[in-house]
């Protein structure tokens, strides 16, 4: 099975990962192999089966509406690769 180039580029775009030309082939064959592997599930009958997204049998625990988290801009920007005037800074975005 092949994983075609266009699909791979599309996935790269969606997940913001550059598809390096030199690795295109090996990546494509890796993904093809994985997809072949997971395709095994297609033959399993899952009619009338409910999906499980979390195994913990509990409903959501809610918290009270108290604004107890306080921070300064410095604290939250401490690990930021680039910041300016208490803002996170990114290459200019044109909307």
């Amino acid at each position: 099975m092949e994983f075609d180039k266009d699909s791979l580029y599309k996935l790269g775009k969606l997940s913001k990962i550059q598809i390096d030309d030199s690795k295109l082939e090996s990546l494509s064959s890796d993904l093809a192999s994985i997809i072949k592997f997971i395709d095994r599930l297609k033959s399993i009958d899952t009619e009338n089966v409910d999906p499980t997204s979390n195994s913990l049998d509990q409903s959501l625990v809610m918290r009270e509406d108290i604004a107890s988290d306080v921070n300064t801009a410095d604290e939250i920007l401490e690990n930021a690769p680039q910041n300016e005037l208490d803002f996170f800074s990114v290459p200019k975005v044109i909307e």
Partner: protein
Amino acid sequence: MINGWELVIGIEIHAQIKSNSKLFSSSSTKFGSGPNSQVSLVDAAMPGMLPVINKFCVEQAVRSGIGLNAKINNKSIFDRKNYFYQDLPQGYQISQFKDPIVGNGFIEIDSEGQPKKIGIERLHLEQDAGKSLHDQDPKFTFVDLNRSGIALMEIVSMPDMKSADEAVEYVKKVRSILRYLDTCDGNMEQGSLRADVNVSVNKPGEALGTRCEIKNLNSFKYIHSAIIYEAKRQIKAIESGENIIQETRLYNIDTGETRSMRSKEDAHDYRYFPDPDLLPLVLEDNWIKKIKSSIPELPDKKKERFIKEYGLSEYDSSVIVSDKSTSDYFEKVVQDRNPKLVTTWVTSELFSILNKKNLSIDESPIPPNQLGDLIDYIDSGKISSRQAKDIFEEMCETGETAQNIINEKGLSQISDESELKKLVESVLSLNPENVEKYKNGKDKLFGFFVGEAMKLSKGKANPKILNELLKSKLNS
């Protein structure tokens, strides 16, 4: 209809929930704080951080759902909507996709004087994104995450609106309901309530056209003109043989035009899936019932009651109930008073002064009890309407009470009959010749006596009583 084309409009309202803390974190939601000063580790999506839901926000969504006559779902699921954007720290927005907290509902709007039902498809809870500033630096966009994670209710209408007017009416009505419920402050300028409007056009009887979504409209005026512009743009395009592309557009408030949003050009695939950090939100019937019992009277009911209870006209009642604060104000004033007089004073005098000063009714310079006092003076005849208007203006300027102004200026009317009788008697005894002439048929002289009496009372005589007394005396 525009030039033989029908409009189809559906609206998504994003209403910020009035809460102390954010939907999934305990950061403050206060407006106007310094950049990035209300950003918890969760809001900034630091590694290993997890969301915990705010109970109050859930309650507010349920309240709003009830207010929109909608079905409250006992079980709802939070999903992740995945996309990359500088104002979206997690790389996904926690929202509700397949199983929202609130399902189908409806509201009623006024469409050219006729009531019209607009369907509500759903209401769901989701996180707000941060704010981007593009104009601070030539090369960089700045990001403030204070808003990131604030709780929003997204209210999705059915595509039931056919004109820009209806669209505005719809948003107004939803806003009014949310304000009655106190679940959203409805402040559009601050962005607490914004609308994404979907517009398409089609020829009557033909299939629906391709829709375009105009994002982030934050005033009734913009909603109106954006729809008109967009509809005309689409009509022009179709008539000149172009195809409409389904896309997201931005409204430029300076030019009044809409344009395609470049940053959203990439075909989106949001890859919604249930957020594995959150379990299903399960609401007990009893809990929902408790919320239901705490729902206040909403505008439609209130309007009916005002008509019935106070004899208000349909129009006056609509005007007064359209805003919760106005109706509250009105009801405080109207207690044990003449509803007609109160309505006139609220809708004409008070509204015009608020308009002039650009104030909301909550900021009214005259509190309801003081307007009530003023109206009492009019109703009891202590002051004339003419005097009342002057007093009212002075109250607005100085903040003084009506009583103080009346006392200070000695403005109160003389309505006491025995006092006025004395007045009448002295006027008649001072002018015996004119009394003679009047009795001989010169009716016109009646005005002269009134004038003299007024002069003598320094204008304070209650004209109505004075007239009556004069008449009975002269005619006896």
